[in-house]
């Protein structure tokens, strides 16, 4: 009977080897992915008991950890409340993390590989590991100004402001209204956190939505910048003084009874007007006709070069802007409507700021970013974001022609509300229709240059207390854009 017993011994050896290999797999190979899983309380507890790093603007925290007396040792605080919520996100025991708290978590919690040496030193000196800090690109004055501008429109206002530096892509302001106070979610009073969460997630105004990067809405007339850019790039129009088709209505022929009217039913100043004038008065017929001439493919390509369809800001939750849903082949009227930023065209405020920024930067669209510097707990710089080009959207000459038209729009067109004395300001307004039963969206896309300084701003007012017939991009959103540009340029 010894031979079977020996075989049994081998079988037992195999069983134990299988157990050993398997726990090596679980505790070593799979450990990182298990630790990163949602709802892993152990990791959350550990993170909560750590001195988490700060998120800073000009050295001042907009998110920091302060000592607390309860079992978690530290309490996350957001000194500015909801003003920076779209950037910082929340750090909640029950509901996890969002925005920068989530995307920069490895640095903030101190588990980043670049902090390995710090961790070893902490271990040897028996100190609690500390997190590194993240400095963001925001201009605090611009942020505040933008928020105040939206608040001034009244209590029920929904809207967003995105400002970027056209030369680098650094995001200078990112405001959404309404916002929420992340302190409510970071509290250690979990019953209250639960209640806050329910309130915030069931609020139909979606206060936790980052409207600058996640809310895609028809950009309306501001999209005419893209149509004009495509027309100039493809040689459909050669210069801003070239005459193009205008008039009161755009008809399509071929038995289509629908015609595309202008916003106020006017005729844009003639049956043929210059491109510049079409931009100044935001002539639907002219740009609808241009879109038809440019064609769907080239228009879509131009939109893509400005960043439509991409997700360039990796640090924050973002919905890509779109020219069409999927690859819909467009009928003529749909293509004409798309050319004026209607039909299925939808863009985020950040995307429209990138359009203005690309034009202001002589055609080069920079990749937007919000994290400027990442530092170790001892302030050593671990990483500094280098500006990157996202694409060459248009040639420099086309960009200059577009600038010329945007400046003209501010001087004599629909965007006069953005004039800043002594500063080169270009802008385009937009009043986008959605459905008949809700007020249109007011858009304002602009840039300003003052010597070497420049800024591009997009403002979106989704809804406000303003009477319906008062809503127009220039009147509602223009002054906000203007004040943000002034704040950035120090005027």
């Amino acid at each position: 009977m010894n031979k079977p017993i020996r075989n049994l011994a081998i079988a037992c050896l195999v069983m134990f080897m299988a157990l050993l290999v398997n726990i090596n797999y679980v505790q070593f190979v799979e450990a990182d992915s298990l630790n990163a899983k949602n709802g892993n309380k152990r990791v959350i507890n550990e993170e909560f008991s750590r001195d988490r790093g700060s998120i800073l603007i000009d050295g001042k925290p907009i998110a920091e950890s302060v000592k607390s007396k309860d079992e978690y040792k530290f309490q996350r605080k957001y000194p500015e409340g909801g003003l920076y919520a779209p950037l910082t996100g929340y750090f909640s025991y029950i509901f996890g993390r969002s925005a920068l708290e989530n995307s920069e978590n490895r640095v903030l919690s101190g588990s980043d590989d670049r902090l390995f040496v710090n961790r070893v030193i902490d271990l040897l000196s028996n100190k609690q590991p500390k997190g590194g800090s993240v400095e963001v690109t925001i201009d605090p004055l611009a942020q505040k100004t933008a928020a105040e501008g939206l608040e001034a429109l009244g209590k029920g206002t929904k809207g967003a402001v995105a400002a970027i530096n056209p030369k680098t892509g650094a995001v200078l302001a990112m405001v959404t209204q309404p916002s929420y106070n992340p302190n409510r979610l970071a509290s250690h009073d979990f019953a209250k956190v639960q209640k806050s969460w329910e309130e915030l997630t069931t609020d139909k105004n979606q206060p936790m939505l980052n409207r600058t990067t996640q809310q895609t809405l028809p950009p309306g007339s501001t999209f005419k910048l893209v149509t004009a850019a495509a027309a100039l790039e493809k040689g459909v129009v050669d210069d801003v003084d070239d005459k193009i088709k205008a008039g009161a209505r755009l008809s399509f022929g071929g038995g289509i009874t629908y015609t595309l009217p202008n916003e106020n039913g006017g005729n844009c100043g003639g049956d043929r007007i210059t491109l510049e004038q079409a931009m100044n008065v935001s002539c639907n017929v002219a740009f609808g006709a241009l879109a038809l001439k440019v064609g769907q493919t080239d228009l879509a390509e131009q939109a893509g070069k400005f960043g439509f369809g991409t997700d360039p800001l990796a640090d924050l939750p973002m919905n890509p802007s779109r020219f069409t849903s999927g690859d819909t082949p467009l009928e003529q009227p749909q293509l004409a409507q798309s050319g004026i930023g209607q039909f299925e065209v939808a863009a985020t405020p950040l995307q429209m700021a990138m359009v203005a920024g690309g034009i202001a930067n002589d055609g080069k669209v920079m990749k937007p970013y919000v994290v400027d510097t990442v530092r170790a707990p001892n302030l050593r710089v671990l990483d500094k974001t280098q500006p990157k080009t996202l694409s060459e959207a248009v040639s420099a000459s086309t960009a200059r022609k577009l600038q010329e038209m945007m400046v003209s729009t501010v001087q004599v067109g629909t965007a006069t509300s953005a004039q800043i004395p002594g500063v080169d300001v270009g802008a385009k307004t937009g009043t986008a229709q959605s459905t008949a039963d809700r007020p249109p969206y007011a858009w304002f896309v602009s840039y300003a240059k003052d010597g070497d300084d420049s800024v591009a701003v997009a403002v979106l007012v989704e809804s406000s207390n303003t009477a319906r017939n008062e809503i127009a991009g220039g009147r509602l959103a223009g002054p906000i854009a203007k004040s943000v540009m002034e704040a950035v340029l120090g005027k």
């Binding site: 009977m1 010894n2 031979k3 079977p4 017993i5 020996r6 049994l8 011994a9 037992c12 050896l13 069983m15 134990f16 299988a18 157990l19 050993l20 398997n22 726990i23 090596n24 679980v26 505790q27 070593f28 799979e30 450990a31 990182d32 298990l34 630790n35 899983k37 709802g39 892993n40 309380k41 152990r42 990791v43 507890n45 550990e46």
Partner: protein, 457 residues
């Protein structure tokens, strides 16, 4: 001239030294739990330490007295595991008490049951002076096993706890008779197979290339096994079914030396497992939890948290008292392997598995060196029962195989398990003492008495 006879050394000194080490592991673990959770060494460390030392000395003396040739490694291994288990249960008690001051500590009960376990161990060694006598009681044990298995099904004393009807309760005490049935069945299988092994292996008809034994040889054991399986199915105790089935098939293979039985067993098992999967909802839940636990985080909360605990422990562990094993439901019993993995890390859990591996290896070595067939089968069966328990429960917790309920021997909280596993160690030591003891010299005419100067009465 007589040929020199090889006499195994008793090795009681080595055993004592290893026991000291094992006791040290237990006491150090208890102290570090206190340090980890509360920052100070528990004030009653001397109590537990004293208790462990008394236990160690007592068991050592019992072995020295009644089984002087017994294997010297088994006992220290078991003491180390038992001490670690106590420390971990105490640690989880502290964890629960921080959240809920009314939590009733389990460690005290476990300490008491450990005491009973050691009494059972000593009783086995003292009462069973020669394991071969158990063979005479083959059918008695077989009958006892079935009675024990039926007990929980009886109304009045049977208790249904967490979906399995495997407990009996009398007053405040509850007991899992299946744990005792495990030993009884091992004795029954061993005793029966020893007698019938030739008949099972040789007599019978050849059918499709397999030698089928005669029904009258296989019948009783098959009936016994089927009955126990049937009962277990009613009790929804998958782990024990697996244990008994494995024990049955492997002992049949050892007794007959015919690997064909393993094939038949594997086929039967596969068929049974598949039918079980189709027939029972709780089996499907377990299998799904094994294949993709994260598909239903609410239902698979325990498995997922066990895995989180293991991952949290990583390579070196959080340190005793510094992880959060109390987040895993039943981290002190079914999932104690995950708790150990969290606080002692991969290295610690591997060490624990190595200890189990050594216990199984020592058991099988006893089976190999044993001179009588009954002892061989019994020792192999007992060693295998420990191997299966560890494989099934640790494999289940670490998601190597679907989770089935069995206890982790000596570590997990649970009275019946700890008492019966100590009894198993007692039996193994008894067989090994018998095995290693030099054969009594047959010398009739040279009496020692003649050379004695003073005759002691």
């Amino acid at each position: 001239m007589t040929t020199p006879v090889w006499v195994p050394r008793k090795r009681r000194g080595a055993e004592f030294f290893l026991t000291v080490l094992a006791v040290f592991i237990g006491i150090a673990a208890y102290a570090s739990v206190g340090l980890g959770v509360e920052g100070t060494i528990p004030s009653d460390t001397y109590k537990l330490g004293g208790a462990l030392i008394v236990v160690a000395i007592a068991t050592h003396l019992v072995v020295r007295r009644v089984a002087p040739y017994a294997d010297p490694v088994l006992l220290p291994l078991v003491i180390a595991l038992n001490g670690l288990g106590l420390a971990m249960i105490y640690r989880i008690d502290l964890g629960y008490q921080q959240v809920n001051p009314d939590w009733k500590a389990l460690a005290n009960g476990q300490l008491m049951w450990t005491g009973f376990g050691i009494v059972a161990f000593a009783l086995v060694l003292i009462v069973v002076r020669d394991h071969r006598r158990l063979q005479a009681l083959t059918y008695t044990f077989g009958f006892a096993a079935i009675v024990l298995l039926i007990l929980p099904l009886l109304p009045g004393i049977g208790r249904n706890i967490r979906g399995a009807r495997i407990w009996i309760g009398i007053g405040p005490f509850s007991f899992q008779p299946g744990e005792a049935a495990k030993i009884c069945l091992a004795i029954f299988f061993a005793g029966y197979l020893v007698v019938k092994r030739d008949a099972l292996a040789l007599a019978g008809r050849r059918f499709a290339g397999i030698d089928l034994p005669r029904g009258r040889d296989l019948g009783p054991i098959l009936a016994g096994w089927l009955l126990s399986m049937g009962i277990l199915i009613f009790q929804r105790d998958l782990g024990s079914s697996l244990l008994f089935f494995g024990l049955f098939v492997v002992l049949l293979y050892i007794a007959t030396e015919r690997p064909g039985w393993l094939v038949v067993g594997a086929l039967l098992f596969a068929a049974g497992a598949y039918m079980g999967y189709l027939a029972f909802g709780h089996v499907q839940v377990r299998v799904n939890a094994w294949l993709d636990p994260f598909s239903d985080p609410d239902k698979n909360y325990q498995v997922i948290n066990g895995l989180f605990g293991l991952a949290h422990g990583g390579l070196l562990g959080q340190g005793l008292g510094q992880g959060s094993p109390n987040l895993t439901p039943f981290g002190f019993s079914d999932f104690i392997a995950a708790s150990l993995g969290e606080e002692l890390g991969l290295t610690g859990l591997m060490a624990v598995l190595m200890i189990y591996g050594l216990i199984v290896e020592r058991g099988l070595r006893i089976a190999l060196t044993c001179r009588d067939a009954f002892g061989k089968l019994l020792a192999a069966g007992l060693a295998l029962s420990i191997a299966i328990q560890v494989f099934v429960v640790v494999g289940g917790v670490t998601r190597l195989i679907p989770l089935t309920g069995l206890t982790t021997p000596f570590l997990a909280q649970g009275g019946s398990s700890i008492v019966m596993n100590w009894a198993i160690i007692g039996l193994l030591l008894r067989i090994s003492d018998q095995t290693r003891r030099p054969a009594p010299e047959i010398s009739t005419f040279e009496s020692d008495e003649a050379t004695q100067v003073v005759k002691l009465s």
